[in-house]
């Protein structure tokens, strides 16, 4: 029963992240504070759950991860590199006092226009 609930929660979390990623390139700390995301996972252990969900979504090809300084256009990273980066807790909080702060962003691949 617990695992079924866990599964449902994981699916809801992934759906919330995908919906968020349709709106823009989302800095991961923003997702951590997003009410719709937190509704599915709760504030406790939210970072771990979001990390797992983002990794699953990257591996499924449903999102892309970008990396860049807070004031620059971020660059896409490979799924393999993304999976490694997502394990690091530093990406899950804003560090607004650090002028060199780098961030990870995610976007739903359906929000990327493919030029023909």
């Amino acid at each position: 029963m617990a695992s079924e609930s866990h599964f449902r929660s994981g699916a809801s979390l992934r759906a919330a992240l995908l919906a968020l990623g349709l709106e823009d390139w989302i800095p991961i700390p923003e997702a951590v504070g997003n009410p719709e995301v937190l509704e599915t996972v709760g504030t406790r252990d939210a970072k771990d759950a979001i990390s797992r969900a983002l990794t699953e979504l990257v591996q499924a090809g449903a999102i892309q991860i970008y990396r860049g300084r807070w004031d620059a256009d971020p660059e896409v990273v490979s799924p393999h590199e993304a999976a490694e980066l997502l394990k690091d807790e530093q990406w899950y909080s804003f560090r607004v006092n650090d002028p060199q702060e780098e961030r990870l962003y995610f976007v739903n691949v359906e929000n990327i226009r493919h030029e023909s």
Binding site: E23, D24, W25, R113
Partner: protein, 180 residues
């Protein structure tokens, strides 16, 4: 001869006094970060740290020709901002902080308000299927503000089916507001 000079001196002093009393002496815009604080248009003292915390950096015209002050550079001197300039900036900040006041505005109106309020504007990505213009509150390193999706999200219903604004960070975090 002496009387004429004395009169001129008195006139000059009177003119200088009047200028000072009018409240717009020479202005040397110095960033507030280097100063102790500033005086606002009614003379109230604003400490430097509060100035830095203020989100807006609007261009505020002074009542005297040739004097303009921008954001924290209001600090030095006695710049008297016009009522219109200050109230426009203040109103814009207030409106944008209140979702019910933003509701029903057009994306262009929101853009005008944000520009008045000193938000940093970043246009939507050309590669986005659902382009979102971001408006960042100054001093937050792009962690707080709102985004506007003028066409909404393709294939979605409800608020997301049309133009809307979404706050991120701050007291309105996560709130979506329909625009017209």
């Amino acid at each position: 001869m002496l009387t004429v000079r004395a009169r001129r001196l008195v006139l000059l002093l009177a003119a200088l006094t009047a200028l000072l009393l009018a409240g717009c002496g020479s202005i040397a815009p110095t960033p507030a970060i280097h100063g102790l604080g500033a005086q606002n248009r009614v003379g109230a003292f604003i400490p430097a740290d509060q100035l830095l915390a203020q989100p807006t950096t609007p261009e505020i015209p002074c009542s005297r020709p040739g004097s303009t002050a921008s954001g924290v550079q209001v600090a030095a001197g006695f710049c008297v901002a016009t009522e219109e300039g200050l109230s426009a900036a203040t109103n814009s900040v207030d409106v944008l902080a209140n979702p019910s006041d933003v509701e029903g505005l057009t994306p262009q109106q929101v853009d005008d308000l944000a520009q008045n309020a000193g938000y940093e504007v970043k246009p939507g990505k050309a590669s986005a299927a659902n382009p979102a213009t971001r408006y960042y509150l100054p001093g937050t390193n792009n962690s707080e503000g709102f985004r506007v999706l003028p066409e909404g999200v393709a294939g979605q219903g409800g608020v997301k089916g049309g133009a809307y604004l979404r706050y991120f960070g701050g007291p309105n975090n996560g709130i979506r507001v329909p625009l017209s």
